[in-house]
């Protein structure tokens, strides 16, 4: 009992540390002052300022668009990649593919950014929305593969064999047996890809050129000039947005697992 309480205190501390900076930002977004040192009266002024900042709104929308598009495309290509790697049976080839896949996972952001910059310049590709989107897709693919592959590996091959024996075609086996089984991995991969894209600064910073900006690049530029509480207001809104997303993800997960639970219970009853 005592050990149990120590654990909870530790966990509470970790959560506190993780969330204090975020709430600190949000708290001062309501302050009338101009810095994050003293709270001087409640105001919505920074939010009004934010909503009138046409440039900032555009940047936010661009950032979300890049995140959504890149994570969707990365999920599709990553899923295909996981299937390819899963299919390869020779250990040597499998390991080679996995190592290649992991290169961008372990590559430092600056290496990805710098090498992509050389790559785009070499091809004469114009820096901007296209180069940022392609880069985000590229660095999100390996995480999707890594989220889907374990699900494929743990899937019992007799499931697939059974489906084939019962006359299912290749597409049917995939959509009715394989896909539902690995769906949690795909969702996890998608959300990780989305996270990567939203969180990325360094790669974007290298390949963005002059015309296109994401939120991170803009915040970097502003933070170097000092504190402006408009950014605090922005972070409060982004936090709310994340909460909504996470709540949605959680509900979806619960729904999936309860469905599975119900099925398992039914099977148990059946066996009895």
């Amino acid at each position: 009992m005592k050990r149990f309480r120590w654990q909870n205190i530790y966990l509470a501390l970790v959560f506190l540390v993780l969330y204090i900076p975020i709430f600190y930002l949000i708290f001062y977004s309501f302050s009338q002052g101009h810095n994050m040192n003293h709270f001087s009266g409640f105001t919505w002024a920074h939010y009004q300022e934010l909503f009138q900042d046409q440039r900032m709104i555009e940047i936010v929308l661009d950032t979300l668009l890049v995140a959504l598009l890149s994570s969707l495309l990365a999920t599709i290509i990553g899923l295909l990649g996981a299937l390819v790697i899963h299919r390869v049976k020779k250990p040597m080839w499998k390991n080679t593919l996995l190592s290649l896949n992991n290169i961008l996972m372990v590559s430092p952001d600056v290496i990805i950014g710098a090498s992509f910059l050389i790559f785009f310049t070499f091809l004469g590709f114009k820096l901007g929305f296209g180069s940022v989107l392609l880069s985000h897709i590229a660095f999100s693919i390996p995480i999707v593969v890594l989220m889907v592959l374990p699900k494929l590996n743990e899937m019992n091959t007799s499931l697939v064999d059974a489906a084939r024996d019962l006359g299912a075609t290749q597409p049917q086996v995939f959509s009715r047996v394989v896909l539902p089984y690995i769906a949690p991995g795909i969702f996890a991969g998608f959300f990780m890809a989305f996270t990567y894209s939203l969180d990325d600064f360094a790669v974007t910073f290298f390949v963005t050129g002059n015309g296109f900006e994401t939120l991170a690049v803009e915040i970097y530029a502003r933070a170097r000039q000092g504190i402006s509480l408009e950014i605090n207001a922005l972070s409060a809104l982004m936090f709310l947005f994340s909460l909504v997303l996470v709540a949605g993800y959680y509900v979806l997960n619960q729904y999936n697992s309860s469905k599975k639970g119900r099925k398992r219970r039914m099977e148990a009853n059946h066996n009895r």
Binding site: M36, L104, F116, I219
Partner: protein
Amino acid sequence: MKRAHGFYSVPYVLWLALFVIAPLVLIVYQSFFNISGQFTFDNYKLYLSSGTYLRMTLNSVWYALLITALTLLISYPTAYWLSQTKHKQLWLLLIILPTWINLLLKAYAFIGIFSQGGSVNRFLQFFGFGAHQLLFTNTSFILVAAYIEIPFMILPIFNAIDELKPSLLNASKDLGATNWQTFSKVVFPLTLDGVKAGVQAVFIPSLSLFMLTRLIGGNKVITLGTAIEEHFLVTQNWGMGSTIGVVLIIAMIAIMFLTGERKKRGR
């Protein structure tokens, strides 16, 4: 059958060729050119002969080690105890949630928290320690980097612990192992892959966090990443930047080799 295999592998293989192999080849290629576009080995000669570059590299590795160690120290117990809670998936989501807040916003928050009149300093003053210069120090760089990396360490470790079969733990306890023995002989070895994945996910980015060295470290800590960014985007010396990049890639390969999955023996 064979044809279907070939068809769906096209996008992935294309990605491997264009965005994994080509950029790597190009950065190595670029490292042999000087600022006026002539082929040369000078970049490597300069790197290896100048104490500044070598010291910077060692410094960067040292800071990355400190950040990784601190992150691991905080993350393992968190992941372990988190996996024992009710609603653990919800708690895990709450750990991941801060990673959805942009890294730059978090760095920006610390500019406020660590500033001269910020809350940490007011806290110190309250207990009679007086105000300190916190922002733009090496310590603040390590703390903020660790703060940002913690979720990326917790996630793989949590997954590894979560995949443990409870029957293994029960077996260990049935056979008379104490809690500590169960942890050190069963849980930790079986979750080592998660730890390695976490170390990979934290150590390598820590070598390249140039925005933190600029915003939080006040340019006192120069990491490999800072040097590359400087060469590419400020001085426009892509050749030297690529050379440092190649060094960073070698460091990355070393880390992958050290933490990669070893071939499982036996059976």
